[in-house]
């Protein structure tokens, strides 16, 4: 990852669990105690789909995957776009930064209500 890119920030909680995205309170009911930059790790594809009926402002087709990172023995899952349609369950992928995953304002959600950049996954 480039030093200029924001981190793919997951939250770590006192019980050792990690979630992406982070939450004010973790699965064990406690507030986070730190963060992990998932862009420094690779992940394994748990499942994937290619969606052909996409909403306004979304690329078509849109290949998506749920992937699982192994952060020092702690599993962390994430969902995101895949850079190719050539993907299979069990593939190893790495996060790659994209400035705009979807056109802000094209859909129903207020453009200022959330961020639109993030990390796609590309096969290693």
């Amino acid at each position: 990852m480039s030093d200029d890119n924001p981190p793919m920030e997951a939250y770590r909680y006192p019980d050792g669990s990690i979630t992406y995205p982070g939450h004010p309170v973790g699965p064990g009911g406690e507030e986070p105690v730190g963060t992990v930059d998932l862009s420094e790790y690779t992940a394994t594809v748990l499942t994937w789909t290619t969606s052909t009926a996409t909403p306004p402002g979304v690329r078509q087709p849109n290949t998506l995957a749920i992937v699982e990172f192994d952060v020092d023995g702690e599993p962390v899952r994430a969902i995101g776009q895949v850079t190719t349609e050539d993907v299979e369950i069990g593939d190893e992928v790495e996060p790659v930064y994209a400035e705009e995953l979807r056109e802000p304002g094209a859909g129903i959600r207020e453009p200022e209500s959330q961020e639109w950049d993030g990390y796609q996954f590309t096969p290693v």
């Binding site: 979630t19 992406y20 995205p21 699965p27 748990l46 499942t47 994937w48 789909t49 290619t50 969606s51 052909t52 009926a53 996409t54 909403p55 306004p56 402002g57 979304v58 690329r59 849109n62 998506l64 995957a65 749920i66 899952r77 994430a78 969902i79 995101g80 776009q81 369950i89 995953l101 979807r102 859909g107 129903i108 959600r109 209500s113 959330q114 961020e115 639109w116 993030g118």
Partner: protein, 383 residues
């Protein structure tokens, strides 16, 4: 304790309708009151299940509009929004209003007006329930279904054809439902050759976009006997949530909200899954019928697909599922669907389901919001 009875019900024609949300709700509400032989001024609580009339149509304040249109003032009114499970949540609210003693006559009307929007726009309105981390990637409810279906087929070594057979079964059932959006049989080849929507799922694995409304009238069982001999009772009901972020679930092929809500409902009813004679499940996507049939305890995990293959869930099978045609054939007007599920079970239990009639003393409806994010399970029995 006085049980909560349903003494009247109605549903409008589902499909592409000229009517707008106010008119759809009034049509179903008026018909349900007539069916129950209840006058509008007897209604003490009036609930409207609706996900997004403001987003779809620019019409808010629908409960008050309905109360006025039906001359049901001064009934207490509230809108129940729990996305696709708004109907089930409305059943819960209506049951609660009667069971608590707050109301002796409650009406629930669920409805949605959607078809004036393009498929892309309607998909986006529904996808707005997702977490920002999902929404920015263009994640939609159909894409969750594709992701889960692939994992299910891979994990349990289920054939792709088994999903198609859910669509075939439910379309066949819908043929005998005069209110269904699609009264047309489809064969397996048609399902498997239809265009891909979210690989491996295809067009016929998905429910349509639908306009429609359904309504139910609730009262204590002691009051019900004053109106009719044909009523059904709610013997168990449970509501539960699962994670908002879908990929954070330990097992993506298990819907925790279904497991938890049904456990509550079974315990309240003092019944087991084996006691259920007929069920309406939330088959917004074919894969959801497998997941719910397993998470409700009807079949072992990973075995739901075999039940469909073996005809167990056919109308003449051991456990008929979606005799109404399900969301798949009947249609899915978001806020109406959970109400229409209970409408079908009510009709089955009072013996008024026409050609769809099966032998049933116990029925179950499972209404799912999001991708299992919010769930209401309702168990009903004949009187």
């Amino acid at each position: 304790m006085d049980r909560v009875a349903i003494i009247g019900a109605s549903m409008t024609q589902f499909g592409q309708r000229d009517a707008w949300i106010r008119e759809l709700l009034a049509e179903a509400g008026q018909a349900a009151l007539a069916d129950a032989n209840v006058s509008p001024d007897e209604v003490e609580h009036l609930y409207v299940s609706n996900m997004a009339s403001g987003e779809f149509e620019g019409q808010t304040g629908v409960p008050n509009a309905l109360a006025h249109d039906l001359a049901a003032m001064p009934a207490y009114t509230a809108r129940i929004d729990q996305t696709s499970s708004s109907g089930g949540a409305g059943v819960y609210a209506a049951w609660q209003s009667v069971a608590s003693g707050a109301s002796d006559m409650t009406m629930l009307v669920g409805g949605e007006k959607m078809t004036h929007r393009s498929t892309a726009e309607a998909t986006d309105v529904i996808a707005s329930l997702t977490h920002p981390a999902e929404y920015k990637h263009g994640v939609t409810l159909p894409s969750f279904a594709g992701l889960t279906a692939r994992l299910y087929l891979d994990t349990y070594d289920a054939p792709r054809e088994s999903l198609g057979k859910v669509a075939v079964k439910n379309h066949k059932n819908g043929l005998d439902n005069p209110h269904a959006q699609f009264r047309k049989e489809v064969d397996l080849d048609t399902v498997l050759d239809s265009p891909i929507v979210a690989d491996p799922l295809r067009l016929y694995d998905f429910c349509p976009i639908t306009d429609g409304s359904a309504a139910l009238v609730f009262c204590p069982e002691s009051v019900a006997r004053e109106y009719t001999d044909d009523y059904a009772v709610i013997s168990g009901i449970g509501g539960a949530t699962d994670t908002h972020v879908v990929h954070e679930r330990a097992d993506p092929t298990t819907m925790g909200g279904v497991v938890n809500s049904s456990e509550i409902a079974y315990e309240m009813a003092d019944l087991e899954p084996d006691d259920v004679d007929v069920a309406e499940l939330h088959d917004m996507f074919t894969i959801l019928e497998f997941l719910q049939s397993e998470d409700l305890g009807f079949f072992e995990k990973g075995e739901g697909w075999k039940a469909v293959e073996e005809g167990v869930t056919d109308r003449d099978g051991e456990l008929p599922i979606n005799t109404s045609g399900g969301l798949k054939s009947k249609g899915h007007p978001l806020g109406a669907s959970g109400v229409a599920q209970v409408y079908e079970i009510y009709k089955q239990l009072i013996g008024d389901a026409g050609k769809r009639q099966v032998e049933a003393d116990v029925g179950l409806a499972c209404n799912v919001g999001g991708f299992g994010n919010c769930v209401t399970t309702t168990i009903m029995e004949s009187r």
